[in-house]
Each structure stands twice: as structure tokens, then as C-alpha cells.
Symmetry: C2
Subunit: 229 residues, 2 copies
């Protein structure tokens, strides 16, 4: 089966209602309509479309009082109505229907996996207990232990903002509630730790471990050069 995409360049206006409400005045723009029901209105700037709808919309075409084409895209909770005032072009092109999409590298999940196999970056004597250890407040990325600490709660991020510290805080509290007599520590492991996050971590006595950006590089020696606060 061949998938197609319809590309319209036209002077258009649009009204969206659903999670919010937006109106778009008439200007010349580019409209992409995909076979899966997605629709995008792009102007001359930026990566985000002005208006859009996700897959599984139903398209109804009507005419308004002045004979202009009106495209109505409806889903259960939302609808986007596009009025075409002046169509410059309207082409439909075939596309691959088997696009495997992006291959990602360096994701948080890969970083977590790598850390699980390189626990020495957290310092000597750290032993992994479990990945995605469940708590009342959600799963702990990496749960470890040390000779002098029963539970080391490790939160893994690529970029760590203060929200990551709050997350650790909730996990640590949850583990302390579960094991009132155990010693529990919180650790943040991230490639990019923002200053505000570091500051908060210091206040909460959570250790911060900065992972070198070259962590995937097997030629790079680690030598346990993790930065500790």
C-alpha cells in the first residue's frame, strides 16, 4: 500500500478548538496533510507548525458561502477548520510506507544501561541492586548499595534541572518510608547538571555525578573521574 502526502500552498485561515482555542488570520502558508490523518500548517519561520492535528482525524471538505474550500479535521475531542482563500498549488505525492524512522543514540535509557555496567563512576564499592526499582512515587532509575549505605537512590538524566532533584527527594522519602531503619542516600547522575540543580542537590545532601559527554566512547578511559560535590 502506498502512503501519500498532500501539500497545499495557499492563503488560509484556521480555527482550532479542543485543549485550547486558537485562531489564525489569513496568510499564505504551507499545509501538509498525511494519510494517517495528521495535518500541519507551517509559516515561514520555526520548527513548530502554527496549527496541527495528530493522527486519526477525519477530514470533511465543504464550501463556505463564498465558494471557498473549507477543510475540517475532527477527532474525538478536538477539531481544526482550515479555510482556503487562494490556492497556489495542491499536489499529492507518494511516500515510502515503510519508514523505519530515527535510530537514536545516546538516550537516557542507554545511559542508564551503561551506568548499570559501570557502577564504578559512583565511587568504589557501589553494587547495583536493581534497575527501575519501583516505589510509591515511581520507579528509581538505579538502586544500589554500598558497604556503609543500604540504599543508594540514583536518578539518571541527560540534562538535570531542579525537577530532577525534587524527583530524587520523593524517591528517597519513599524508600525511607518503606525501610525506616535503613540508610538511604540520593545521587544524581547526569551529563549536563544545571547550576540550580547542583545548588539544590547540595542543600539536600545529594551527591552529583557528572558523566563525561564521551561516555559512549570505548577508547575514553574513565579512571573514576566523576565529579563529586
Amino acid at each position: 500500500m502506498i502512503e501519500v502526502m498532500r501539500i497545499i500552498t495557499a492563503s488560509c485561515s484556521a480555527v482550532y478548538t479542543g485543549r485550547g482555542n486558537t485562531t489564525l488570520p489569513t496568510r499564505k502558508r504551507v499545509i501538509l496533510i498525511k494519510d494517517d490523518g495528521s495535518v500541519l500548517i507551517h509559516n515561514e519561520t520555526g520548527t513548530k507548525p502554527l496549527n496541527y492535528m495528530g493522527a486519526k482525524t477525519v477530514l470533511t471538505v465543504k464550501e463556505d458561502g463564498e465558494g471557498k474550500q473549507v477543510l475540517m479535521f475532527d477527532s474525538r475531542r478536538e477539531n481544526l477548520t482550515i479555510t482556503l482563500h487562494d490556492i497556489s498549488s495542491d499536489t499529492t505525492i507518494p511516500l515510502s510506507d515503510d519508514d523505519p524512522g530515527l535510530e537514536r543514540d545516546g538516550t537516557e535509557s542507554q545511559l542508564q544501561e551503561w551506568l548499570a555496567e559501570n557502577m564504578e563512576v559512583f565511587g568504589p564499592d557501589h553494587e547495583l541492586i536493581q534497575r527501575e526499582h519501583p516505589t510509591l512515587h515511581g520507579p528509581v532509575d538505579l538502586m544500589a548499595k554500598r558497604g556503609d549505605c543500604d540504599y543508594v537512590v540514583i536518578e539518571v538524566k541527560r540534562v538535570a534541572t531542579p525537577a530532577a532533584i525534587h524527583q530524587i527527594n520523593r524517591y528517597v522519602e519513599a524508600v525511607r518510608e518503606e525501610f525506616p531503619d535503613a540508610t538511604v542516600e540520593g545521587v544524581l547522575a547526569a551529563i549536563d547538571i544545571r547550576p540550580k540543580a547542583e545548588e539544590l542537590a547540595l542543600k539536600k545532601s545529594f551527591k552529583c555525578v557528572t558523566i563525561p559527554a564521551t561516555w559512549r566512547d570505548p577508547t575514553e578511559r574513565l579512571d573514576n573521574r566523576a565529579v563529586e560535590l
Copy 2:
């Protein structure tokens, strides 16, 4: 000045490096290149482009060993390289250069403003002290007082998830630290309060106020029908 957009439909592959790393195998896709330096690669599904770069990239065009066009988009910290294997079409169209963009309605900021002028939805006797009241943990959306409570910390959301409750918790703690002898309450005001958020709020003794979806409608009578937990 006329802004243009270049629309290429071609069999293409792409490599991105920057905040992460991605590779995209060769398939037929649609490439949008905007005058501001933005570039998007769209396949046949979804609202999100497979690969993209924001504004202010520099485009360099080369040829690889087999004479294929290679488009390199570079910014300071990232770069995207697209190889065109088989070009079906390559058109450049003029667009409006004065697109005023979306007019939004029903945003959180408008909701906050509306609530500030309709404090009665929180119950009788609520008096607004300040919008965006600053604390150590960030600004409180609405700070109010009541005859029997010195500080009512109100967090406004369109959609409230558990994260909103954690936010209130931090604000309430911050205000309690600042005024140890004052009485402080936390309140969540949202159009859509998710069950997990409500559950958490109950546990923390924060009041939940559900704002009717018709809050902007002036014909709708309010009658203080706020839902209290």
C-alpha cells in the same frame, strides 16, 4: 522582503549530532527548508518531523563521492546532514513575511487572570494578596488570605498532574519557612484534575477546585460551584 520556503520531495538519508545522535535510513520523504534557517524532514505519519533544526542554521551544499547532493545545516552546537539520493521535486515558493501567528485563547495565564478577578470560586472570604508571589522555590501563581488563614497558596493549571501537587507542596513549605507563625494552606485550581493528582492532594490536605470548562463564558453563572475535596 519576501520570505520563501523550499519544499523538496526526495529519497533521503540524514545524520544528526548535537544534543543527541540520530541516523535516518534512506526513504522517500518531504523536506521543508525555511528562510530563517529552519529545516524539517517529514515522513508519512505523525505531527513531529523525523529530523529538524531550528532557526539560524547555516546551509552548506556539497556533493558526495557519487555526485549526490548533500545539505549540511550547522548551528553552534548541532548539525544535521541530509543526503539527497533521488529528487522527485524541488520547488521554492514565496510566503507571507508578516504572519502574525496564532491568537491563543484559554491559556493558563488568562485563567490565572480570570481567577484573580473571581476569587469567589475558592469560597467566601478569599482575598487576593498577590499574583506571581515570589518564594525561594519559585513564584506562587495566586497568593490569597482568608479570615482564618494567613496565606492561601493557589497553584493554577489547565491540566493538573501529580507534579502540580509537588509544586504546591514546595511553595507551602517555602511560605511556612518564611513565616513560621503563619497559617498556610495549599489549593489547586485546574480545569482538568487527574485522579492521581486529586489523590495526592487529598493526602497532603490541599483543596482542589475544579474550574468549569466554560469559565470564559460570561453567560455562565458561577454560583460558587467549585468542587471541594
